[in-house]
């Protein structure tokens, strides 16, 4: 039953484009899906290692810009008359390079700021996001600045001899985002259930104790930062190729806050939390739009967030798990060893 549940959920979401013809709603599903991927990546840092990255949108934006620029090409003059010309590359390579470059920045920020922890990490991450936003705004030659990068080609998937497919329609983009979301979910799920995930939780819970049993703090924090940043970059790349236009506003602090709200209301440190929180806060503006003025929409958004955290301070998913008595991760170990579990019950 418990094993079938994720498949059932996946099946429901896979069927959405088959019965939903409203392009506006489908668009809402796609952008929500992109932000859920970003929120899941933030959850890896915030929920499992306990580090709050308030500059997470930087990785999202770096992924978006890198991916767009790789597929569009650019021609910039650097210092001392060095000129860099880049011819457009296939779009799928933009997605991969965008993910890798975001991951690389995750490594740099991780190395730099995990020497300073907690509040200092929050400050470093905010500053980093603000610097990337200013670069995107002012390096006009590369990014077009406030004029935005336009005509970004849709993602294409080419197979030699078979032909290629481009993700131009809303339906195809929906499945693309769903696919990347599932892959991200599987990566995080495998990671947190492994020895690596246990090391991350150990660092969050009690760092001195963790190092005393031989866990290398920096290594696992940097690893979490790299994977988290790369995943956010992949989400940013999907966003750029879907919208076909990006401007420095992708680096807005507001987007980071949106991701944090999704993670915290859904339940940080749970696999399903960012998905549940993401769906709720991705769709509140959509639903509220049909009956409320723009200002009222934001008030509803805020009120709903406060209500959830007031009633369920741990988030929605932990509350549901508690309510239905869903077994947690350690119980899986018990299930995998029925013989010894029985003897333990008997004693």
């Amino acid at each position: 039953m418990k094993r079938l549940f994720p498949w059932a959920v996946l099946l429901v979401f896979a069927s959405v484009p088959l019965w939903l013809n409203d392009p506006y709603l489908l668009n809402a599903f796609i952008t929500t899906g992109v932000f859920i991927i970003a929120a899941m990546s933030l959850n890896l840092l915030l929920g499992y290692t306990g580090q709050l990255s308030l500059g997470h949108v930087a990785f999202f934006g770096i992924g978006a810009y890198t991916s767009a620029l790789v597929s569009l090409g650019f021609d910039v003059e650097l210092l001392f008359g060095i000129r860099v010309v880049h011819e457009p590359w296939p779009v799928w390579s933009g997605f991969i390079i965008g993910t890798l470059v975001a991951g690389l920045f995750g490594y740099l920020v991780g190395k730099l700021s995990f020497r300073v922890r907690d509040a200092y990490f929050v400050i470093v991450s905010i500053s980093f996001a603000e610097v990337t936003r200013l670069v995107a705004l002012n390096w006009v030659e590369l990014t077009q600045g406030p004029l935005a990068l336009t005509s970004i080609p849709p993602l294409t998937l080419g197979l030699p001899g078979v032909g290629y497919f481009d993700f131009y329609s809303k339906q195809s983009n929906y499945y693309l985002v769903l696919g990347v979301l599932v892959i991200s979910y599987v990566i995080i799920s495998r990671l947190v259930k492994s020895r690596i995930g246990r090391a991350m939780v150990a660092l969050k819970e009690n760092e001195s104790l963790a190092v005393s049993v031989g866990i290398d703090v920096t290594r696992y924090l940097v690893l979490a930062a790299v994977i988290s940043a790369g995943m956010a970059g992949a989400a940013g790349s999907l966003y750029a190729h879907y919208l076909k236009i990006i401007d420095p506003d992708v680096f807005l602090f507001l987007y980071t806050i949106t991701m944090v709200i999704m993670v915290v209301t859904g339940g940080k440190g749970t696999l399903a939390g960012p998905i549940v929180g993401g769906l709720i806060f991705g769709f509140i503006p959509v639903i509220a739009r049909s009956f409320a003025a723009p200002e009222v929409q934001w008030i509803l958004y805020g009120a709903f967030m406060i209500l959830i955290l007031f009633v369920l301070p741990q988030g929605i998913v932990p509350a549901i798990e508690k309510w239905f008595g869903v077994p947690n991760e350690s119980d899986e170990a018990r299930q995998s060893a029925p013989a010894s579990a029985k003897t333990q019950d008997a004693s």
């Binding site: 492994s194 005393s212 049993v213 018990r334």
Partner: protein
């Protein structure tokens, strides 16, 4: 100075001229002692004598102002705590000795970290090596919980355990990290006599595995009962060193720490 049967063995842990200053405060002035392989050594002394500081220096949580710590010939001065744990020198903590919000079983799984053989790719691609390594770790965790005697509480949150069991879990985690030497910081403080007895039995078994033990403890019956050798600290320096019987009768130790009651008991 010592006449224990263990002294013929090789010294594994050596502290040479260790000094620790916090600003103007001298926590440890000049500490020299060795622990030999397979020995149980206790570090005792009044509060503030520098026992926990000495522990922190040995395990890399604090840098000595002067002097050198060596374990099996390797200098520990510039190593990080997790690197020292890699060498097999594993400690427990005085107060927060377990991960409170994690199940007892997973606490031991975390302790087993060093024994895992799977790499990042094994985990991400769910390769057979990952499953095999996890299975081995789970078997090992059950074995350790059984050895310590808290397997019936495996799936409770560690923070929900009674105090005595939390201390046992702390030791279980330390044992999971495959120590060749175990440093225990007041392991039986807050335990009742029955729990203390259980703990001493456990230490005897751990010792039989060949693990060297350095103990900081205030519980004198336990210290006297289990130690091969005792090092007495006062105001950051050693005031006496020797087997339990000699320490119990040492007038300076009685004056500084044990008190006159101990003198009378020793005489009886």
């Amino acid at each position: 100075m010592t006449n224990s049967s263990q002294t013929s063995k090789q010294p594994v842990l050596t502290l040479e001229h260790i000094a620790v200053h916090f600003g103007g405060l001298v926590a440890i002035s000049d500490l020299n002692f060795v622990v030999n392989e397979g020995e149980v050594v206790s570090l005792i002394g009044p509060n503030g004598a520098g026992k926990t500081t000495a522990f922190n220096v040995v395990t890399g949580f604090m840098r000595p102002t002067k002097g050198e710590v060596r374990y099996k010939g390797t200098s520990l001065n510039n190593l990080k705590p997790h690197q020292i744990a890699e060498l097999g020198l594993v400690r427990t903590f005085q107060r927060t000795s377990v991960f409170q919000n994690v199940s007892v079983f997973d606490n031991v799984m975390i302790g087993l970290h060093r024994r895992g053989r799977s790499h990042l790719w094994d985990t991400l691609l769910a390769l057979p090596r990952e499953r095999q390594s996890e299975r081995e770790l789970r078997d090992k965790a059950r074995e350790i919980l059984g050895a310590v005697g808290i397997e019936h509480r495996a799936y409770e949150l560690a923070g929900a355990l009674p105090y005595g069991d939390q201390r046992l879990l702390g030791v279980a985690m330390a044992l999971a990290a495959e120590p060749s030497m175990l440093l225990l910081d007041e392991p039986v403080s807050g335990m009742n006599p029955t729990e203390t007895m259980r703990f001493m039995e456990l230490l005897t078994r751990v010792r039989a595995l060949g693990v060297t033990i350095l103990l900081v403890e205030h519980d004198m019956p336990m210290v006297m009962g289990i130690s091969d050798r005792i090092v007495v600290l006062n105001y950051g320096r050693i005031i006496a060193e020797g087997p339990p019987a000699a320490i119990q009768g040492n007038p300076e130790v009685i004056k500084a720490y044990l008190g006159q009651g101990a003198k009378q008991r020793a005489r009886n």
